[in-house]
Symmetry: C2
Subunit: 207 residues, 2 copies
C-alpha cells in the first residue's frame, strides 16, 4: 500500500500529464466535475425541502391509500411520461407496494373502495388532469405526486384528495444561454413515493 501523500502526488502528476496531452479533455473534465457537484448539491437541497415540507402530506397520502387495503379495494398507480418509473418501482422493485396494481388508460372496473396514486411532471399536465376528472366523476379518492406550477388554477393540487409537491418544475442547472437543464422530476417523485411506502407499510403492519 502506498502512503497517502504519495498517492496524492501521483494523482496530481497524472492529472497534469492528461492536461498537457489534451487541454480540451482537461477542460471537459473540469466542467463535468463542476456540473456533477452542482447537481449533487441541488439534489441534497431538494430532498431536504421535500423532507421538511411534504412530511405531513406523505402521512396523509399513505392514510388515504391504506383505506383501500383496509377496506375491500385495491391501490392503483399510474405514472404519466417518465413518471411511469414510479409505477415500475412500486410493481417491479425489490420491495413492491403490497397489492398494488397498474392502472391503464381507463378506470372501468374501479369502485369507490379503490384508491389511486397519480404521478405526473407538473400539476398542469393535460393528460393527468383529464384522468383526475374521470376519477372525481366516479368518486374514487386519489393522491397526486407532481410539481406544483405557481398560480395555476384548477390544477391537480385542487383536484387531489392528497397532494404531494415534488418541489421541482424545471431543470436545476443553468446553461450558457440562460436556460436550465437537469430536471430530476422522477428522482423527486421517487423520494416522495418511498416516503409514502414507509408510512403505508407501518400502517398496514399495525392493522
Amino acid at each position: 500500500m502506498v502512503h497517502s501523500t504519495q498517492t496524492d502526488e501521483f494523482l496530481h502528476i497524472k492529472e497534469e500529464t492528461v492536461c498537457a496531452f489534451s487541454t480540451k479533455m482537461c477542460k471537459s473534465i473540469e466542467r463535468m466535475t463542476k456540473m456533477l457537484k452542482m447537481f449533487t448539491t441541488q439534489l441534497t437541497g431538494l430532498f431536504g425541502r421535500l423532507q421538511s415540507k411534504e412530511e405531513m402530506e406523505i402521512e396523509n397520502a399513505a392514510r388515504l391509500l391504506a383505506q383501500a387495503t383496509v377496506g375491500d379495494g385495491s391501490i392503483y398507480i399510474k405514472g404519466f411520461g417518465e413518471m411511469a418509473g414510479v409505477a415500475a418501482e412500486a410493481l417491479q422493485g425489490e420491495e413492491p407496494l403490497e397489492g398494488v396494481r397498474e392502472l391503464q388508460n381507463n378506470i372501468a372496473g374501479l369502485t369507490v373502495a379503490d384508491r389511486v396514486l397519480l404521478v405526473t411532471r407538473r400539476t398542469t399536465d393535460p393528460q393527468a388532469l383529464s384522468f383526475a376528472e374521470k376519477l372525481m366523476e366516479a368518486e374514487i379518492p386519489f393522491a397526486v405526486i407532481a410539481g406544483k406550477v405557481k398560480d395555476a388554477e384548477g390544477d391537480l393540487e385542487e383536484k387531489a384528495d392528497s397532494f404531494l409537491n415534488t418541489q421541482t418544475v424545471r431543470g436545476m442547472l443553468p446553461d450558457e444561454t440562460g436556460g436550465r437543464f437537469g430536471f430530476p422530476s422522477l428522482m423527486a417523485a421517487l423520494y416522495l413515493y418511498h416516503g409514502v411506502k414507509f408510512v403505508l407499510d407501518e400502517i398496514l403492519e399495525d392493522y
Copy 2:
C-alpha cells in the same frame, strides 16, 4: 404576520394537543419523521459517494455511448425490473436523450456501430447477464449501470465496456428485526444516468 416566537409556541401547543388526543398517532408521526430524516441523510451520503467515486466512469460511459451518435449507430437503452424507469426518463422525460431507442428482448437488427446502456439492480442479475452475453457475442459495446455485488465472479462489471456502480445493493434503513428496507436502486441509477447525459450532451454539442 405573526412573530416567529409566537408561531413556534403555537405549533408546539398544536403538537401537544394532537399527542393528548391520540398517543398512537403521535408516536407514528415521530417514527415517520425519524425514518424520513434517516432516509434523506442516507441518500445525501449515497449521492456524495456516486459523485466522487463514479465521476471518471460517467465520463467514460458518455464517451462510449457518444460513439453511436458520432458514427452511424444508435444508442439503445434497456432497464430490467424497476430500472425500466431509467428508460422512461431517457425516452419520455422532458429532456430526452437525443436519438435514444428502447431495446426489447432481442438484439436482432443491432450492429457494431450501435451502443447499448443496460440498467439493472445488481451485477449478478441473471436476465441482465444473459443479455450482456448476447451483446458480447454480437460485438456490440455496452455500458452498465448496476449495484456491484462484492466478490461476484463473471458479473456485469467484468462483462461491460463501461461499468457504473450504483453503490447500493440493499435497503438503507434498519428495521426492527435486523433486516433492511428502503432500497433506492432506481434513484441511484437515475443519478448516474443524469450524469452520463450531462457529459453526452456536452460531447455532442462540441462535435
